[in-house]
Amino acid sequence: MGISDYHATTGNWREQLKRNERKTRQVIISFFAIYIAVGLITDTVILSSYYPSAPLSQCLLALITFKATPYATLIMIAIGAISLFIAYAMYDRIMLLGTDSREITPTSAKSLKEKQLYNVVEEMKVAAGVNFMPKVFIIEANYMNAFASGYSEKSAMVAITRGLLDKLDRAELQAVMAHELSHIRHHDIKLTLMVAVLSNILLIVIDILFYSVVFGRNNRRQDNRLMMVIIVLRYLLPIITMVLALYLSRTREFMADAGSVELMRDNEPMARALLKIHQDHQDNAETYAKEYGKTPHEQVRQASYLFDPSTIDPVKSLGSAFSTHPNLDQRLKAIGFKKK
């Protein structure tokens, strides 16, 4: 399957960026809404255990109108803020965990190809008007992939595997690096971390609620409806947060692709690079699966990869609602290449 199997159009990156910006906003708003809702449910449980005779709706109304202070919600917001602060300060140490990597600078580039890599990143940095240069790493691995992390001078980095560097030409390499740089300038790592941290807090809170309601001593006084809601949420919430997080991840991938076209003002190199990487993963599925499997801590990078390695794993690539990346045809279509 090559580029000739697709109808080439110029694509509309402005429209793509706008659309996915809107989708991101929707996801974030619904995420916060869920967070606040779970906080209020906790507060209602606590409040109704103090006033067992008060009807639920009245408890809820009192909390919303601040007649009763929603302590649990406030505490949850505080814990969320602190955890996010810690996560933002620490995350940059883990991204390269377990890989065999080396930093590339103009002086440490050993070959023309490595110099070229540094050059294209620098060119894209100029095009994006970003006023810092991300660190550039090469990972010694045969599979073709790349990822980015960070959003500031201190933390921004892009990493690319040796396989990708060797198999792409200059323009394709540039498209890939523009994609990665777009993740950095869109501050995607902040969003990913935020959703991950908040979902974990949510799941802990709902677990505590569940056990205290089911096994708590005062469970006879609890309203049955409230108990039902908590039991349903206990099993539904992990799925909802995961689907939301994955939807967000796919949205940000579309945005990074559109950002790459925005920087290069050309959509063909990106399309060629994606097709090449896809084809290469198909051809070497077995060896790559082994190689990915051999690298420790692969899961910290999975969502940030340019190309989702789980597509070569038939079990993991079942449903599109449960994948971190849109599939190849969707991505190509978004940048203006429709399948013939």
């Binding site: 023309l112 110099k115 050059n119 620098e122 060119e123 095009a127 994006a128 008007g129 006023n131 003002r265």
Partner: protein, 193 residues
Amino acid sequence: MSTFLIAVLIIVVLLFFWVIGVYNKLISLIEAINNNKRQIDIQLDRRFKVFQSLIESVKKYMDYEKTTLKDVVALRNQAEAAKASGNEQERINAEEGISRVASGLNVVFEQYPDLKASQNVLQLQEEIVNTENKLSYAKQAYNDSLERYNAKKKSFFESMVVGLFPSKLDKDFTYWSLPEDKIQEHEDYTVKF
């Protein structure tokens, strides 16, 4: 009556913060344009230095470069003079001339097979491509920042804030572009071998 007063007060305060927000946003957009304009200068300057050292280093292989070097220096002086006198158009023309010399240099490499194969020349070619790319991306970034500023400045509501502080917020920048006759000339241009 007092609740009405409070409501009005809240709206006034919100409006005040919104105006401050728009003001600060526009200032940062203007400064981004200024910075991106300087970035073009930086890239032009870098290109001149890179080309000078490139030509110096390939001089021993071919005579062509002796005249090329002269061309580049002459064009560069022209550009500098135009910049000093504030003649944007002449400056753009001179810089365009240097770009043509650069592509000429790549053609020259093609004519010397053993030279073409040498690792040094591959590095030089990469350097030329890199330099030219950076320059055009700097121009693109400048135009992009201009687009963002103009869109914000001219959109409804924001334009009212601009009306309040015209001296600070209403700047007139021109997009980096080629003159009409140049565009026509480049459009008609085809490669002949």
